[in-house]
């Protein structure tokens, strides 16, 4: 057993796929950040709000106001360096830290694909993506034709985990037997040419899309790994992601997944891509001395790197299952919902208002949320209990500091999930100001008055 494992770990593979991945990742990240800037979202999401929702354990992460632009500039520069393979290790670490820091500023903007970029860039820190076709090669006068096979396979594994878990998440009774939430989302796209007025409105189509989405997610990693089905799988990947891009406002995610899927292809394709890039760069190439080509890249500190990678994947495989520790309906309480590849899985809306009560006199008033939260923040807060709790504490502190005495904070909250009639969400009699966030079950979330079976 140990023998075959060490044989595998010592296997080499062509370094071209890793180089192509590095270049495309760096360029896409660059573009993605510039696009984010261009839309004015830095201002809108990170600078304008007076209050930010924090991740558990990361309450110390602050927005730097206008200086947030500096973090973005740093991140873009790092992404560019990653693409060029210039001072790669420092660049990818900088990218990982700056990108993740940005995400940690406000939980409101959590997106599964931002989480994906964070962990992907973390993994890339430990991979020799600069071994081939990078400026580091030119500077160090060394280039490597081969890299350990497991470095390329680890990228394939990560992408497979994302798809497979997304597929598992879709195995639930709402998705498969009620065609929810597609049954709400698809008919609303009535203005799509050709299919908007007829296909998108049909119930059988909603079910077809739900089932094929689930089957696609579960099977696509295997179809990509098998050489015989690879091209067909890639066609599916392109079709699926472009289709979802047309339907939903999911930004760069489809393109990132399409380009990332190239890692499954053999070195031949990647060498062609690199030849193409070389020919495009020819007019710009200075007469640098060609780096000396060494056959294979070797880690100098493999005994540290491998355990880290192992822990990383162990975490990725186990973490999405933490919801099992909580009794109540996952889609309702969302305890363990984030960071587990539950992508575009539920339609959930809420309406949550807060009452500040003076415990001694009984006097009370309702808070106008728009005084403290942006519409986006209020929307996200209204159906996520950890947000509600954090905001309740903020309100309690705020009004106490204004001089109100014996402050109690009660939430009146109604949530509709996947087309069901809205139900009361939070116990209106629980003083949230006295409750603290932890990994324990939140008993002040009212039970879900229905049942959803599955993952």
């Amino acid at each position: 057993m140990n023998g075959s494992l060490s044989t595998y770990l010592n296997k080499d593979a062509n370094g071209a796929p890793l180089a192509v991945f590095r270049i495309s990742f760096g360029l896409m990240m660059c573009f993605s950040l510039v696009r984010f800037w261009y839309h004015g979202w830095i201002e809108k999401l990170y600078i304008q709000p007076i209050f930010h929702f924090k991740y558990y354990g990361f309450e110390w992460v602050k927005s730097f106001g206008t200086y947030n632009y500096l973090i973005f500039i740093l991140c873009i520069a790092a992404a560019l360096c990653v693409a060029l393979g210039l001072k790669y290790r420092m660049a990818i670490i900088t990218f990982f830290l700056s990108f993740t820091y940005i995400e940690l500023i406000d939980k409101t903007t959590y997106l599964n694909h931002y989480y994906f970029i964070s962990i992907l860039s973390f993994l890339l820190i430990f991979l020799p993506a600069h071994a081939f076709f990078s400026l580091d090669n030119t500077l160090n006068k060394k280039s490597y034709a081969h890299v350990p096979k497991w470095t390329i396979d680890s990228l394939k594994l990560l992408i497979s985990i994302v798809y497979f878990y997304a597929g598992l998440a879709k195995i639930n009774s709402d998705w498969l037997f009620r065609a929810m939430p597609l049954k709400i989302w698809l008919p609303s796209k009535y203005d799509l040419p050709l299919i908007g007025g007829n296909l998108m409105q049909q119930e059988w189509f909603h079910f077809a899309m739900s089932w094929s989405g689930m089957l696609y997610d579960l099977s696509i990693p295997f179809l990509l790994v098998y050489r015989k089905t690879r091209i067909f799988a890639f066609v599916l990947v392109v079709f699926f992601h472009l289709f979802t891009r047309v339907l939903f406002p999911i930004g760069m995610f489809p393109y990132i997944m399409i380009i990332s899927a190239l890692i499954f292809f053999d070195a031949g394709l990647h060498e062609k891509i690199i030849r193409l890039l070389r020919s495009m760069l020819k007019p710009f190439s200075i007469n640098w001395t060609s780096p000396k080509v060494i056959s294979a890249y070797r880690f100098s500190n493999r005994q540290i790197i491998l355990p880290i990678i192992l822990l990383f994947f162990g975490f990725q495989i186990l973490f999405p299952f933490r919801y099992l520790f909580y009794k109540n309906e996952l889609f309702w309480t969302e305890e363990g919902y984030r960071m587990s590849w539950r992508v575009m899985l539920i339609e959930k809306m809420g309406y949550t208002t807060f009452k500040i009560v003076n415990e001694k006199t009984g006097n009370s008033f309702l808070v106008d949320n728009s005084e403290f939260l942006s519409t986006f923040q209020e929307k996200q807060m209204s159906f996520q209990p950890d947000f509600i709790l954090e905001y309740a504490h903020f309100l309690g502190d705020h009004y106490s500091s204004l001089g109100h005495k014996n402050v109690q904070v009660f939430a009146e909250s109604y949530v509709a999930l996947n087309g069901r009639l809205s139900q009361q969400f939070i116990d209106p009699a629980t003083d949230l100001y006295r409750k603290n966030d932890s990994f324990k079950s939140k008993h002040w979330i009212l039970p879900f008055k229905d049942e959803i079976k599955g993952f």
Binding site: S188, A208, S212, L218, F222, F248
Partner: protein, 372 residues
């Protein structure tokens, strides 16, 4: 493994091939809801007729105002007061349409901001130097300002008439009253003409599902009005829901004193009529939220949201009907009844803002970041 990919391929090819074959409506498939008809119904049967009526009422108010200023006596005072009330009731049908020209010029802010600011009004009158369109004057114009000028300027009818006859500010008072009413009429005519001469068509043709399309904007307006204009302004704020004490002086038509209930019942009626697609002023209903929701929920096991909403609106109506005509008095003597009316309206807000919005899959206001 291969079986899965074949099933996948099958679904994909079904999707692609069925593109061409769903033209045939007779195989029991769901017909698409005609959103343009809903928009036409809104524009042609509800919005424009309501504005026409309001414009006519304000024209009448101008006439009555001129007659009153000519002869400021009790009978002319009564005439202008009735005309004002009539226009105010019609206004309730129009306040929710903050779209098009009305949105551009902040029409509602220039017509119905209350409580009105007496200091600002007095200041304007005495300095004779004011720009009614300026945002600082929003709380010194419109129906609430006229309310003050016709009922609150002085205590008692005799003293009030003196303000327009013998007082040393009588010329200025007259001028201000005149300007207020003229402005209201001219703004309304501007909005009405915009609807009739171009915006109406643009409105009906904006059928896509984007944040700036007519359906999305009007739905957001409707809900915003229900939450703010109806629930908060008429009930929540005066009843002290959002503050530590109630404010009996922040009710609508505070100076008239007996009009608050009539106005809020009109507003609720306007909301319910719009929801049900009932034509303004005449018999007949057509497409609106009610029928749209029925279409969206057709064939699902879900409860009939349209009837739930109507039921709740009816409950709110009975709760309001049990109130004193004079909301200030109601607040002072038994505020719990006001808060109960508020609660009934609040339940309707949840049904509209959560359930209806979710069913229609409309984004509540502009959240233009990526979703995941």
């Amino acid at each position: 493994m291969f079986r899965k990919s074949i099933i996948g391929l099958l679904f994909v090819s079904i999707m692609i091939s069925c593109n061409s074959s769903v033209e045939n409506p007779t195989d029991g498939v769901k017909d698409n809801f005609n959103r343009q008809e809903m928009l036409s119904n809104w524009a042609d049967n509800i919005i424009i007729p309501a504005y026409e009526d309001l414009n006519a009422d304000l024209n009448d108010l101008v006439i009555k105002k001129n007659e009153f200023l000519q002869t400021p006596d009790p009978s002319h005072l009564e005439a202008i007061r009735n005309s004002w009330m009539n226009a105010y009731e019609t206004w309730q049908y129009v306040e929710m349409f903050s779209i098009g020209k009305a949105e551009d010029i902040n029409y509602a802010f220039q017509m119905n901001i209350y409580p009105t600011n007496i200091q600002d009004i007095q200041n304007n009158i005495s300095t004779e130097n004011y720009d009614l369109t300026h945002v600082n004057n929003n709380d010194a114009v419109g129906f609430p300002a006229v309310d003050y000028m016709l009922y609150g300027l002085e205590a008692g009818e005799e003293a009030l008439l003196d303000a327009y006859t013998s007082s040393n500010l009588s010329m200025q008072n007259k001028a201000y009253l005149s300007d207020l009413i003229d402005q209201m009429q001219s703004l309304t005519e501007m909005v009405l003409n915009d609807w009739k001469l171009g915006y109406g068509d643009a409105f009906v043709n904006s059928t896509s599902n984007t944040a700036t399309s007519s359906t999305n904007k009007l739905t957001n307006d409707f809900i915003y009005y229900f939450e703010k204009g109806l629930r908060a302004n008429k009930f929540g704020i005066p009843a002290g829901i959002f503050s530590t004490t109630p404010f009996y002086d922040k009710v609508e038509a505070f100076y008239h004193q007996e009009a608050s209930k009539a106005l809020s019942l009109k507003a609720l009626q306007a909301v319910q009529d719009f929801f049900n697609g009932k034509a303004y002023g005449v018999e007949g209903t057509s497409d609106s939220f009610k029928t749209y929701l029925l279409y969206l929920q057709n064939g699902t096991e879900d409860v009939n949201l349209s009837s739930l909403i109507n039921d709740q609106l009816n409950k709110a109506k009975s709760s309001i009907e049990s109130l004193n005509n004079n909301y200030s008095a109601q607040i002072k003597t038994d505020n719990t009844k006001m808060t109960q009316a508020y609660d009934e309206l609040q339940k309707a807000v949840v049904l509209l803002k959560v359930d209806m919005i979710q069913a229609m899959n409309i984004s509540v206001d502009f959240v233009d970041a990526d979703g995941d």
